[in-house]
C-alpha cells in the first residue's frame, strides 16, 4: 500500500481566508450554543475580530507576497499582491460595514427582522418581536459573504472562482430578505437578486465549460501559457474561447453592476436593509471588479499571443459596456427621487468609471483600480451609514398636552429616503450632513477628496491605454454625475426643512406603499409600524423627519470613512505606494 503524502500547503498564505470563513463556521456554532442574551455581542465581537484578524494576516503576508506571489493548494488559490490588496480592501470595508450593521441606534432596534421567515404583520411576528428575538445569523452570513469575496479575487481557477461567486452571493440573497421594515420590498429585492444572480452564474459557468472545452483546463494561467506555446487540442475552435470568455465576463459584469447587466442593482439596493446595501455596494463591487481585472488580463496574455483580433474584440466589449454604464448610471440617476436609489445609480456610474480605467488594458491599471475601489467603498459605506440614521417619526400634534400623550406617538419609523425629506438636514444634524456632503463630493470626484484621486487614476489608465476619447466621455459623464450629487446637496444644506411633512400619505403609487398585509391597531409602541412598508398615518398624526443618534458603531464607521476620505484625498501617496506594489498580478 502506498503511504499517504500530505500536500504541501502554505497555511500562512491561506490564513486570511481561513480566519474569516472559519469564524463564519464558528458563528454558526455560536448560534447553537451561546445563550440568546449573549449571542448578539458574541457574534459582533467574533465577526469584527475575524475581519481584523484576517487583515492582520494580510499585513503580515504583504511583504512576502509582494516579493514573490505564490500559488497555494495546487493553484486553487493564487495570491498575487493585487489579490492580497483586494483581500485587504474587502476586509477593511467589511469591517466598516459590520460596524454599521451592528448599530442598533437610539431606537434599540437594528435594521433586521426579528424573524425573517415570519410573514409580515402576523401575530407570530409580533410575538417574535415582543420576545426580543434577533436574527444574529446575519453575522456569520456576513462573514461567509466576505470570505467568498476575498476568495473570489484571489484565484485563477475558474471553478474556484465560481464557487467563491456562490459563496458570496447566497448569503447576500438571504441578507437582502431580512429587513425589519418594508419587508415586502426586502423580500422582493431578495427574489430579484436571487433569480437574476442564478441566471448570471449559469451564464458564467457555461462560459467556464466552453473555455474548458477549448483548453482542457480551467486555470487561466495554464491556458495563457498553453496558448503562447500553441498546440492546444482545439486550436481551431477559438470561437469556443471567445464565447466562453464573453460569458465569463458577463457573469462578472453582472456582479460589477455594469449596463446592461445592472438592472438588479437599483431594486436590490433599495429593497435590502440599508447596512447590507452599504456592505454589498462596497465589498461586492471590490471583489467583482478585482476578479474581472484578473480574468481579463490573464486571458489577454494568452489571446495576445494567438490572435490579437480577439484581444481587440475583448477591449471593444469592455469599452462599449463602460460607455453604456456611465451613460445609464449618470443619466438615469439624475432623475431619481429616492436617496438609496440615487446611491444605487451612482454605484452603477462608478462601475462605468472603473471600467474606463480597466479598458485601457495598461500596466498601471491595477494600482489605480485598487485605489478607486478603496475610496469608492469608503464613501459608499459612509453614505449608507448616514442613510440608516435619517428616520421618519410619527408625531401627534396634540400629544403631551392636556389630552395626555397619544399612544405610539413619537415612534421612530423606517428610514426617510425621499430626497425631499432630507431638506433642512444641515440644520438638524450638521456633523452628519457635513460627513454626507463629504462622501457625495468624494463620489463626485471633487479635488482634495479620495474620489478625485481615484477618478484621476481611472482616466489616466484609459489615456495611457490610448483611449483618451474614452477619458473625455468619462469626464462628460462625471459632469452629469456631479449634477445629481449636487441636487441632493442643495436639498440637504440649503433648503429649509419643510413645514408640511416630508411624506404625505396620499402618494399611493409610490413603491413604498404597502399592498396587503398591514397590521393595524397593534399594541405595544413601535410594533404597529415595525413591518409596514409604508407608514400609515391617521388624520391626526403626521410624519416628520428626525435623526436618530447612533449607539456608537455606525458613528465610528462614519467618522472613520470621513477622515479616510479626506486623508486619501490630500495625502494619497501612502496608499498609492501600496497600490503600486500590488500592481503585478501575473506570477
Amino acid at each position: 500500500m502506498t503511504e499517504f503524502v500530505a500536500p504541501e500547503i502554505d497555511w500562512l498564505a491561506l490564513a486570511p481566508l481561513i480566519v474569516v470563513l472559519g469564524a463564519g463556521v464558528v458563528g454558526v456554532l455560536v448560534e447553537a450554543f451561546v445563550p440568546a442574551k449573549a449571542r448578539r455581542v458574541t457574534q459582533i465581537v467574533l465577526t469584527l475580530a475575524a475581519l481584523a484578524g484576517g487583515f492582520a494576516f494580510i499585513a503580515v503576508l504583504w511583504p512576502q507576497i509582494v516579493a514573490q506571489p505564490v500559488q497555494v493548494v495546487g493553484g486553487s488559490v493564487t495570491l498575487t499582491p493585487f489579490a492580497l490588496g483586494t483581500q485587504g480592501i474587502i476586509a477593511v470595508l467589511a469591517f466598516l460595514g459590520v460596524l454599521v450593521v451592528a448599530d442598533r441606534t437610539a431606537t434599540g432596534q437594528d435594521a433586521f427582522a426579528p424573524a425573517a421567515s415570519a410573514v409580515p404583520g402576523t401575530s407570530y411576528e409580533d410575538l417574535a418581536r415582543r420576545s426580543g428575538l434577533e436574527q444574529t445569523e446575519i453575522y456569520p452570513l456576513l462573514l461567509f459573504a466576505a470570505g467568498g469575496m476575498m476568495l473570489f479575487a484571489s484565484t485563477d481557477d475558474l471553478i474556484v472562482m465560481f464557487i467563491a461567486l456562490e459563496v458570496l452571493s447566497l448569503p447576500l440573497y438571504v441578507l437582502c430578505a431580512t429587513a425589519r421594515r418594508r419587508r415586502l420590498l426586502s423580500q422582493e429585492a431578495a427574489a430579484k437578486y436571487f433569480l437574476l444572480g442564478a441566471f448570471a452564474s449559469a451564464l458564467f459557468i457555461f462560459g467556464v465549460a466552453l473555455i474548458y472545452g477549448f483548453a482542457g483546463t480551467v486555470r487561466l494561467l495554464e491556458i495563457a501559457t498553453a496558448m503562447q506555446q500553441g498546440g492546444l487540442p482545439l486550436d481551431g475552435m477559438s470561437g469556443l474561447l471567445v464565447a466562453g470568455v464573453l460569458l465569463v465576463t458577463v457573469g462578472l459584469l453582472f456582479k460589477v453592476g455594469a449596463v446592461p447587466f445592472h438592472a438588479w442593482t437599483p431594486d436590490v439596493y433599495t429593497g435590502a436593509p440599508t447596512p447590507i446595501t452599504g456592505f454589498m455596494a462596497a465589498c461586492t463591487k471590490a471583489a467583482a471588479v478585482a476578479a474581472l481585472v484578473e480574468v481579463l488580463y490573464r486571458v489577454s496574455i494568452g489571446v495576445q499571443a494567438v490572435d490579437p483580433e480577439i484581444m481587440r474584440q475583448l477591449q471593444v466589449v469592455i469599452v462599449v459596456v463602460a460607455v453604456l454604464t456611465m451613460a445609464v448610471g449618470t443619466v438615469v440617476g439624475s432623475v431619481q427621487s429616492d436617496v438609496k436609489r440615487l446611491l444605487a445609480y451612482s454605484s452603477i456610474a462608478h462601475a462605468g468609471f472603473l471600467l474606463v480605467g480597466i479598458a485601457g488594458f495598461s500596466s498601471q491599471v491595477q494600482s489605480s483600480t485598487l485605489f478607486y475601489l478603496l475610496s469608492y467603498g469608503i464613501a459608499t459605506i459612509g453614505a449608507f451609514a448616514v442613510v440608516t440614521l435619517v428616520r421618519e417619526r410619527r408625531v401627534t400634534p396634540g400629544s403631551g398636552e392636556h389630552n395626555g400623550p397619544v399612544e405610539d406617538d413619537g415612534v421612530v419609523l423606517g428610514e426617510a429616503t425621499e430626497i425631499a425629506q432630507w431638506a433642512g438636514l444641515g440644520r438638524k444634524a450638521p456633523w452628519l450632513t457635513a460627513a454626507f456632503a463629504l462622501f457625495l463630493l468624494s463620489m463626485a470626484g471633487i479635488p482634495l477628496t479620495a474620489g478625485f484621486i481615484a477618478k484621476f487614476g481611472a482616466f489616466t489608465g484609459a489615456t495611457s491605454g490610448g483611449l483618451w476619447w474614452l477619458a473625455v466621455l468619462g469626464v462628460l459623464a462625471s459632469v452629469v454625475a456631479v449634477a445629481f450629487y449636487l441636487r441632493l446637496l442643495v436639498v440637504m444644506v440649503f433648503q429649509p426643512a419643510p413645514i408640511t411633512p416630508g411624506v404625505e400619505p396620499a402618494r399611493d403609487d409610490s413603491p413604498r406603499v404597502e399592498t396587503g398585509a398591514v397590521s393595524t391597531g397593534s399594541t405595544s409602541a413601535g410594533s404597529a409600524t415595525a413591518t409596514m412598508t409604508k407608514v400609515q398615518v391617521t388624520a391626526a398624526q403626521r410624519v416628520e423627519v428626525t435623526v436618530v443618534r447612533s449607539r456608537g458603531p455606525a458613528a465610528l464607521a462614519i467618522a472613520v470613512c470621513a477622515i479616510a476620505t479626506v486623508i486619501l484625498g490630500v495625502f494619497p501617496s501612502l496608499v498609492l505606494d501600496l497600490a503600486q506594489e500590488a500592481s503585478k498580478f501575473v506570477p
Binding site: A177, L210, G213, V218
Partner: protein, 99 residues
C-alpha cells in the same frame, strides 16, 4: 459521432433553459429554467472531459451540482417566503421596486 453534436445539444439545452427563465411567470418554473441551464453546463463539462480524456470535467460537473443544490435551498426559501406573504408565486407580481 462528432463532438459538435454534444456541444450543440448542450447549447440547445442551455438556450431552452434561458428561454424558460425569460418566458415563464411562475418563480419555481423560472428557477427550474436556471437548473436546466446548469445541467446543460454539466453535459458540456462531461463531453469535454471525455474529449480531453481527463477527469477534471467530470469533477467540475459535481461541483456544479453541489452549487445548484445550495442555490435551490436559498432560492426556494426566498420564493416560499414571498409566496406566504403575497399568496402568489408569479414573478410579475413582485414589481414594487422600479424606476
Amino acid at each position: 459521432m462528432d463532438i459538435t453534436n454534444y456541444v450543440v445539444l448542450a447549447a440547445a439545452l442551455f438556450a431552452i433553459g434561458a428561454t424558460t427563465v425569460l418566458l415563464r411567470r411562475n418563480a419555481i418554473v423560472v428557477f427550474m429554467g436556471v437548473e436546466l441551464m446548469l445541467n446543460a453546463t454539466n453535459l458540456a463539462f462531461v463531453t469535454f472531459a471525455r474529449l480531453h480524456g481527463d477527469l477534471t470535467g467530470q469533477v467540475l460537473a459535481f461541483f456544479v451540482m453541489v452549487v445548484a443544490a445550495a442555490e435551490v435551498v436559498v432560492g426556494l426559501a426566498i420564493i416560499v417566503t414571498i409566496f406566504r406573504t403575497r399568496r402568489s408565486a408569479s414573478v410579475d407580481d413582485v414589481n414594487l421596486l422600479k424606476g
